[in-house]
Subunit: 235 residues, 2 copies
DNA sequence: TTTCTTATGTCATACTCATGTTACAAGATA
DNA sequence: TATCTTGTAACATGAGTATGACATAAGAAA
């Protein structure tokens, strides 16, 4: 389950690569900022504190390694994961090795899909492997199993939930009692591309049909009039 | 066939080495935990029961040899393979280390690739012994024999499965009910070599043709729409 | 209370995109 | 060499979902 868009800083001087990569990354849901040289990259990194930095080793002015070192020295940027783009395979050991502290690297010419896969992997590593999100949830008679993506009521299996339905239920059950506005749910579960909040109502409706005894009088997913929805574990 | 990520415990006090090694190991598909000194290492070993331990001989507090001895004495950790890191090439200790029950050793400064190769070798040796993954799986009418890499249905042999097909089936059958995303399967079964998730679909399709009565209505490898696949042992 | 306004519930349908499937080429194996 | 495996691309299909219309319920105002 994903929260808001991850912000990526791309430090690369070749316009063609910047253009292509930005596009691909945005397609994958990242918010991309780019810098043409090292100084600008460093400045932007400090200013915007991105969630991840893609750094070309060969840059005009300050080279990638110096930037990497700088970034690792300053407390504001110390923990931001860095993926290096490098031309030569020989550079690899220096980069990843003990000193520089890049989190991963990709050698040019690189496969865009590979870079995206590594970005995702790095993100996964960064994101606290909070077991909380993987743990089974017991909410009164309802049980939610994120591993199998199945919900049961009093031990009896419920109708299969679709992806969105399950994510919605899981998110709300993780925070019982908390009121979620429709916009929150759209952002978190849907990934923010949609602006029609009525979409949420319909999904809630379908979900209720599957988990509530009487969908007309819901007891788990409760409407908070004028605000949104809340999950009531008591049922 | 490798199951989920192998968990490695790295006991090493130098942060640079920890960072570099963790990265390389994770890149090779291991899940790395690290401890800064001997006591912590021992505690973590007992707690988490890793699949392998990389142990620096020179450590603050309890030294590597004592830990090795401790680990070999306790039944919970007796069978965990250990690779020693030693500083001096002509260190007599390394012999003692092997006598103490380390499975292999690497001298510092070491080549990361060499260490990874040794880890792999140790793992391969070890895996022969781990029953869990080698044990025959009975999933309803399906039987999966990892040793012979053969699957049978109701006793009758199925068409021969290719390497990828078998690994895929084996992994999923080891965790019935669990939903695997395509990217999980790519990471685990394919390693990091491939990035096109459609590859998984095609492999699943081929596998279904061989194990399902009606591949159009699969009962073993079930699609979870918008998420991935899951293995249903009932059939 | 009654009426009015607005938010929410519900339904039907079209559309989008994930998945199934096939074919082919490249790579691996023998 | 020939054969088998596997990744990639292209096309076909269908599940899931967005959308708009309408119905209903909640709260506000009279």
């Amino acid at each position: 389950m994903i929260g808001l868009k991850e912000r990526v800083l791309l430090v690369e001087d070749e316009p063609g690569i910047v253009k292509g990569l930005s596009h691909s990354m945005e397609r994958d849901g990242y918010q991309v900022t780019s810098a043409r040289d090292g100084e600008e990259g460093l400045r932007l990194a400090l200013q915007t504190k991105p969630d991840m930095i893609i750094l070309d080793l060969m840059l005009p002015g300050m080279d990638g390694l110096s930037i990497c070192r700088e970034l690792r020295q300053r407390p504001q940027t110390r923990d931001i994961p860095i993926i290096m783009l490098t031309a030569k395979r020989d550079d690899v050991d220096r980069i990843v090795g003990l000193e520089m502290g890049a989190d991963d690297y990709v050698t040019k010419p690189f496969n865009t899909r590979e870079l995206l896969a590594r970005m995702k992997a790095v993100m996964r590593r960064m994101k606290r492997r909070t077991d909380e999100e993987d743990a089974r949830i017991n909410a009164g008679v309802l049980t939610i199993d994120p591993e199998a993506r199945i919900a049961t009521k009093s031990g009896a299996p419920l109708p299969e939930l679709t992806a969105k339905e399950f994510d919605l239920l899981h998110l709300m059950a993780l925070h019982p009692g908390r009121v979620f506005e429709r916009e929150d749910l759209l952002r978190i579960v849907w990934g923010m591309e949609h602006y029609d909040t009525r979409t949420v109502d319909v999904c809630v409706g379908r979900l209720r049909k599957k988990i509530e005894d009487n969908p007309a009088k819901p007891v788990f997913i409760v409407t908070r009039w004028g605000v949104g929805y809340t999950f009531n574990p008591e049922g």
